[in-house]
Amino acid sequence: MQQAPQIIDDPAGARFLVPRTAFTSRDVFDREYAAIFDRCWLYLGHASELPEPGSFLTRTVARRPVLFNRDKDGEFRALLNVCPHRGAIVCRERRGTSPAFMCMYHGWTFGSDGHLMTLPGSSGYPAGFKRDPQKQMVPVPRMERFGDFFFISFARDGEDLATYLADAGDVLDLVAQHSASGMQIVGGTQEYAIRGNWKLLAENSFDGYHAACTHSTYLDYLKNANGALGATPLAGVGRDLGKGHAMVEYSAPWGRPIASWVPLWGEQGKTEIAAINAALEARVGTERANRIAHLNRNMVIFPNLVVNDIMAITIRTFFPTAPDYVEVNAWALAPHEESDWLRKYRLYNFTEFLGPGGFATPDDVEAIEKCQIGYAAAGEARYNDISKGMGRADGASFDDEEQMRAYWREWDRRLAMAEA
């Protein structure tokens, strides 16, 4: 087996280089599935997506078909959505409510906990066949929740979710604390794909350096749109959250539906935002309330969960199907109790910047796809430079690349560990 390409991490020389074959090699891609996607905790879904006993949805997670559901007692479950008989997908709907799932091939029918309920032609099988553990739907090896965020792992052993999340857990809590009554996924999913390596999307999601150039037209738009832009400057820090998770945390001139008012929202909006802010302070204290309300956070939870708490909140997860192709799912998260007025602005904010039709994401996609095309020359033009801010003595700025270095070090560590 050939040696996996390795990053060059030289703090003394302020050098941090990532070999471009990491984005193009089929061998690296296979290693990533074995060492990362088959081992790490991966985001599955949010509790609000399954509102009642019997609720289900189907997702593809690390190439596997997964049924995420609640059984008749309301317990959350994650089953491999595969019939134990011949392996056909059991539930073929995207979402719904059902007490049982019938495989369309031979009619084997399973309860919401995956147990085999009905076996057509059972006289052809020995007594006890129906209760054989091998004839039941297979649960995903591990599922845990952190607040209302559900994660799964295909590794039978390993650290628990809270340990895995390290300091990223507290940032997930900051998101949850936007609401007194709980957060919910707003209906409507942005489902798209990018012709680029999945790690390019991870990098881009918390790259504070690219905004001024890549998104100049978005920033122009904010200036043109009467009152969409506050007086707050773009400024902040990059943070390593441990175990490959990292974020940038910064102030920004755009409005935040939690508690940063901009003139576009009018005087009535100002009153409503002030009330939300006061309730937030009473609930979590002034210091934390200020952080929740006024600071933006772009976080990547290793390997593939993006939680961007910016002009709206997006939860975004993505899986590669090839070194140069990644499938992306993105949702909007919002407080349950939010007024119709503020929800409207939140979604208006979201679509203004984020997603395939926004004023910013298409240009991120352009950057990612152009990088991927450039990596065809990886044999000669070999390395990406990720060293910005490396020699800085007074801590990383939001527009340095410290957060990406944290991510890449974990990527490198996991691939090297698998090799050993």
Binding site: Q190, Y192, T217, Y218, A225, E352, E366
Partner: protein, 169 residues
């Protein structure tokens, strides 16, 4: 149905078709300012996601791909006019096909349903967006038709392999 009624219905459909073909032509040739002039001052341009009932979904309650009011439509055109709108510079080749036009009149408001296929070609890839348009048209005092709103319902499972709706559908 009397001959006059049939004639009126056909004439109305032809007028609407003319407008939809003009819109397609302006978008294909990147004459976006002229495209914008087809719309009323309170118009909207919406693209719902593919996992909701796109004809009835409410953009104030569900996450869409595009929720443009007239202000943002104008800003979209302004943005696409800049070289720094990187996704569309250099500009992609675009072709809108519009067909299956059906028209219903409700006083001065006319509702048109049609099918579309929009190709976007750039950098060695060619992606097709398939769906149907719901146009709301308003007859002006001088008899001309203006567009008061367009919803582009994608008849696709997901926006794959497309990563972006950076052209106007």
């Amino acid at each position: 149905m009397g001959t006059d009624t049939i004639t009126d219905a056909i004439l109305l459909r032809l007028r609407v078709e003319d407008l939809l073909y003009l819109e397609a032509d302006l978008l294909d040739s990147w004459r976006l300012e002229e495209w914008l002039a087809l719309y009323t001052a309170d118009a909207h341009y919406h693209v719902p996601p593919t996992d909701v009932d796109g004809e009835n979904a409410d953009p104030d309650k569900a996450l869409f791909y595009i929720v443009d009011d007239a202000v943002r439509m104008r800003e979209r055109v302004v943005r696409l006019g800049k070289k720094a709108a990187h996704s569309e510079w250099p500009r992609s080749k675009v072709r809108h096909l519009v067909s299956n036009v059906r028209v219903e009149r409700d006083g001065p408001t006319i509702r048109a349903r049609s099918s579309f296929a929009v190709w976007r070609s750039k950098d060695g890839t060619s992606d097709v967006f398939v769906g149907h348009y719901l146009h709301v048209l308003v007859e002006q005092d001088d008899g001309t038709l203006m567009i008061a709103g367009k919803t582009c319902v994608l008849d696709m499972e997901a926006l794959r392999p497309h990563a972006r709706i950076s052209v106007i559908l």
